[in-house]
């Protein structure tokens, strides 16, 4: 083992993520964010069925997803036209904007019995291992806390059914074989994970 005091270990950060190219035709932050807000909510808290909330998502996660969508790696038909032509700088602006907003639970009714069942499942499935025990997410891992129940349920089903893979297939593994009721319970828990 290299121990400090026995040897000198030099750590240099060589690569920071996302080198930013020069701006093309710059769009203002208000223009960029306005297009997102129409569906995702002005404050990033979605009020539309099956549309995810972006408020309080880790900035790194938002950056990744926008790049993946723009470059055609993650295909979401309704997003395709909106992300086309975004520069890296635009993406940075959007990501910083929504990451800085406070997340709020949606007005969907939560079922306490389902949430209790979801809490037990979340422990067994080790959700907090990557998403953090608070389910707030970190770096490239999304926030689940206060996300919309309908969106989360659908996303979980897509992972279980293999129609969505994510950046790696760990999510497919984590929810393999769960019932619809299990996935719904997880979503009810995630929206308000306070113990």
């Amino acid at each position: 083992m290299v121990k400090l005091g026995v040897a000198v270990v030099t750590f240099t950060t060589v690569l920071a993520m996302l080198p930013r190219p020069a701006l093309g035709q710059a769009r203002t932050a208000a223009e960029l964010v306005g297009a997102c807000s129409a569906c995702h909510g002005e404050d990033g808290n979605s009020r539309l069925e099956n549309v995810p909330s972006l408020a309080g998502q880790p900035e790194f996660f938002l950056l990744n997803q926008l790049v993946l969508m723009r470059d055609g790696v993650r295909t979401i038909p309704v997003m395709a036209a909106l992300v086309r032509g975004l520069t890296d700088a635009d993406i940075q602006t959007i990501a910083s904007h929504f990451a800085a907003h406070d997340p709020r639970a949606s007005s969907e009714p939560t079922d306490d019995a389902l949430a209790t069942r979801g809490r037990a499942l979340a422990v067994t499935l080790r959700c907090g291992s990557c998403h953090l025990p608070s389910l707030e997410g970190r770096q490239q891992i999304p926030r689940l806390a206060k996300q919309r129940i309908d969106y989360l349920t659908r996303a979980l089903k897509d992972y279980r059914d293999g129609t969505r893979a994510g950046a790696d297939t760990l999510m497919n593994n984590a929810v393999a074989g769960l019932s619809d009721a299990d996935l719904t319970a997880l979503a009810h828990y995630a929206t308000s994970p306070e113990p």
Partner: protein, 325 residues
């Protein structure tokens, strides 16, 4: 992560669909986006000035790449000849050229635990440069994302990540050796794990019969990814010919494990694991601050370590004159 003969570091990604080129010119370091829009272009290999890029469903070759960093142009598309499976599960690529000049690449099991078609999934295979002549080199491999050849014996060593959902303590991940003349040997997946643990879900009579046992166990759910042997002279002599292993860290266990770089000291067909880079995991709070993914020894003897979580590459150097201060 590979380095070209002229010193460019090429960095693949599993998240972002990009390949970066990192160049050092006139005292400044620049990281530029070389390629984008690929599906997990994690497997990068250099050969004769060409960069081979292996994504989940594509094999591309960019010739004379270090002279064309600003405009790599259209690649030679080898996808059809390589004919890799298109499933995403456990299929992000690692690839390397062996001492026999062939291109080695892994195909993971397309599940956590299941029967696989052994001709398609769960193995390491090798090809001629043009994608012809496919042969399977190691069978029964669940998911390896790192292998290298021992500098002295020339034998292939590889990591294999054990299955999930059998508890906190196992089955442990494996470090394996393909002994000379044993190409095509069977390493146990899905019937037999971690040196003799029969799988409770996928059963067969005598589950561990004919299975090559691991050279070392590398910890429960530790997720050993990159593996490279060290032949440099910057580190103390005791590091010569050891293998460095980047452990991405566990998710499928309560008390986290890994999140470090370890050294495997090899003795014949066995290996001993010891710590090298630690401190990214705080066992008291069960929190982690980085996820090492790959290790790349450089010609000067220093070691690059990539960290997927922070999107960073670290360089580790050693100075004998400063040691002991």
């Amino acid at each position: 992560m590979v380095m070209g003969p002229r010193g460019t570091v090429f960095m693949g990604t599993r998240q972002l669909g990009r390949v970066y080129a990192i160049v050092y010119r006139g005292g400044t370091r620049e990281a530029k986006v070389l390629l984008q829009g690929l599906t997990q272009p994690n497997g990068l290999v250099m050969k004769d000035g060409s960069l081979y890029v292996l994504a989940i469903n594509r094999v591309l070759r960019y010739d004379d790449i270090e002279n064309r960093l600003d405009n790599p142009g259209m690649p030679v598309d080898l996808t059809q000849t390589f004919n890799l499976p298109t499933e995403v599960h456990h299929n992000w690529k690692y690839a390397a050229f062996g001492p026999d000049g062939k291109l080695y690449v892994q195909i993971g099991a397309n599940c956590n635990i299941c029967e696989v078609n052994p001709g398609v999934h769960g193995h390491i295979r090798r090809y001629n440069l043009d994608g012809t002549g496919m042969e399977i080199v190691a069978r029964g491999v669940r998911n390896t994302v790192g292998f290298d050849w021992h500098p002295v014996t020339g034998e292939l060593w590889f990591n294999d990540n054990g299955r999930d959902w059998l508890g906190n303590d196992g089955p442990q991940d494996e470090l394996n050796r393909v002994a000379r003349g044993q190409e095509g040997a069977f390493y146990g997946f899905p019937y037999c794990h971690a040196g003799g643990i029969p799988d409770p879900d996928i059963r067969r009579p005598q589950p561990c019969a004919g299975v090559v046992m691991p050279a070392a166990l590398t910890g429960p759910h530790s997720a050993g990814l990159g593996l490279r042997f060290y032949t440099g002279s910057m580190f103390p002599p005791s590091y010569r010919n050891v293998a460095f292993i980047a452990r991405h860290g566990s998710w499928n266990r309560e008390q986290k494990f890994g999140f470090d770089v370890v050294v495997a000291r090899i003795n014949g067909g066995e290996a001993k694991i010891e710590p090298f880079l630690a401190g990214l995991l705080d066992p008291r709070t069960n929190a982690f601050y980085g996820r090492p993914s790959y290790v790349l020894p450089l010609e000067d003897g220093s070691l690059l370590v990539s960290d997927e979580m922070n999107g960073a590459i670290y360089r580790i150097t050693y100075s004998a004159s400063e040691a002991g201060r």
